[in-house]
């Protein structure tokens, strides 16, 4: 009876969605990535493979505040138009997506991106010191290597997906490894 309930009752996020298959996959084959929510569909098929991969645009060029502030920031439509006023993309699919962006700009409507990495409200995560710390560790490393510590190899993802659990245990383990503060008030206030 208990086993039956465990199979049927949806577990807490990110182990959502019915679940027995994913839970089995995790426990029996250790497929960690199956634990996390599948990559959500975005309102526009933005490709990190093109932008970050092929074009090698620095992460901070679009996520402008990542080295300065709490949030990395998702670029506004205007910021995309900065390049896409001129660049229409190559291939029909890309052109169609860029057209969606231009339409949004013309209609003055924001693009409602679906959030991929979400922390609970009682966690105050700040990007700036994390980026600064890893940059100090290895000044020669590019910014994307630092970002990849938590976000994975985004430039190979067609749809961005969460690759680390980003739960408290995950954070604390890393903080211990790097001798970062583990005081509760470092993140919870």
């Amino acid at each position: 009876m208990l086993v039956f309930l465990w199979l049927v009752v949806p577990g807490p996020w990110p182990i959502t969605g019915g679940l027995a298959p994913r839970v089995f996959a995790h426990y029996f084959w250790g497929v960690e990535s199956t634990l996390y929510r599948p990559a959500p569909d975005q309102p526009l098929a933005f490709s990190h493979v093109t932008h970050a991969g092929a074009l090698e645009i620095n992460c901070a060029f679009c996520h402008r505040t990542v080295e300065k502030e709490e949030t990395a920031s998702v670029p506004a439509v205007e910021q995309c138009i900065f390049c896409h006023k001129i660049i229409s993309g190559t291939g029909d699919a890309a052109v169609a997506e860029v057209q969606k962006l231009r339409d949004a700009f013309q209609e003055e409507k924001p693009l409602n991106w679906v959030r991929v990495h979400r922390l609970p409200d009682h966690v105050q995560f700040v990007h700036e010191p994390h980026i600064r710390f890893f940059a100090q560790q290895d000044p020669a490393a590019p910014l994307e290597a630092t970002c990849a510590t938590c976000h994975g190899d985004v430039k190979t993802m067609t749809k961005v997906k969460q690759v680390r659990s980003l739960k408290m245990g995950d954070c604390v383990n890393c903080h211990k490894d790097y001798n970062a503060p583990t005081d509760c008030a470092a993140c919870h206030y």
Binding site: E70, P120, D121, H122, V123, Q124, V126, E128, P129, R132, D183, C184, A185, A186, H188, Y189
Partner: protein, 266 residues
């Protein structure tokens, strides 16, 4: 393991002689820390949340006569969490949601709190507040919430944090990015003193780091703390000091010209 000497020891000095009871600190605190608006029902049920409050007392100017209109004066004392070194709220928490960190702050961890309210019952200063309801703001105020501070949900305890979000930012910007020591000047410049201190128009509230020998709180404590200064002019005291809670908030008592006059006449 040898424990490292903590880098900071946050302390507040409240000069009651300067306090005019204007409540600017109360307003600033409510805005900074996402505290819900206290309505009539909150006060009637004694569930109002004020992380810092101004207590008002009426006192006779000449104690030998009855305390009636001309012979009466108002006294104000701002009371916030005293961040006791020997805090009575801490040992009673069954889930360690309130604990002492190495900077002398009495920290409330919201996500650990299960809402037993033992801590509030054990606090002699009555500065812990329980969320009896889910916090609600009028639609027009939704966008003024401070993103650096958690909105506490129903069923958990909250209290003054010495604006730990600002201290954390100070650590990031001043210590981390510029590699300098946090000083009174740099904190004031960057608007990183606690909200009540920044708002106080008369400078009655002084906040600082006791580990920094040049800080203003250290100066004041050297001059006024009865444990350090033996002078008659030392005005410092701690509220309910005989409970041995060892508060980190030191009050400087009012200099009372009226009292001197009365004494001189008597």
């Amino acid at each position: 393991m040898v424990q490292e000497r903590p880098k900071h020891k946050w302390t507040m000095v409240v000069d009651i002689d300067r306090c005019s009871g204007c409540q600017a600190c109360v307003v600033a605190c409510q805005a900074e820390n996402n505290i819900t608006i206290n309505e009539q029902r909150d006060f009637l049920q004694r569930r109002a949340k004020e992380w810092i409050r101004i207590e008002r007392y009426w006192e006779a100017i000449d104690p030998s006569k009855p305390a009636e209109f001309p012979n009466v004066k108002a006294r104000f004392i701002p009371i916030m969490c005293q961040q006791c070194d020997n805090a009575p709220c801490e040992p009673v928490c069954p889930v360690y949601a309130t604990y002492h960190n190495n900077e002398g702050l009495n920290v409330q961890v919201y996500n650990r709190c299960v809402g037993t309210r033992y801590c509030a019952n054990n606090c002699p200063y009555q500065v812990r507040f329980f969320n009896f309801w889910e916090p609600v703001w009028p639609e027009s105020l939704r966008n003024q919430l401070n993103p650096d501070v958690t909105v506490r949900s129903r069923g958990i305890m909250e209290k003054c944090t010495f604006c730990v979000q600002r201290l954390s930012r100070a650590r990031r910007t001043i210590e981390g990015r510029r590699g300098k020591r946090i000083t009174d000047e740099s904190m004031t410049e960057e608007n990183l003193m606690p909200a009540c201190v920044m708002a106080c128009p008369t400078g009655a509230l002084v906040f600082g780091d006791r580990e920094d020998p040049k800080s203003r709180v250290n100066e004041l404590l050297k001059e006024h703390d009865p444990r350090q200064a033996k002078s008659v002019a030392a005005r410092g005291y701690r509220v309910l000091e005989d409970l041995t809670t060892e508060p980190n908030v030191v009050y400087l008592k009012k200099v009372d010209p009226h009292l001197k006059k009365v004494k001189a006449h008597a």
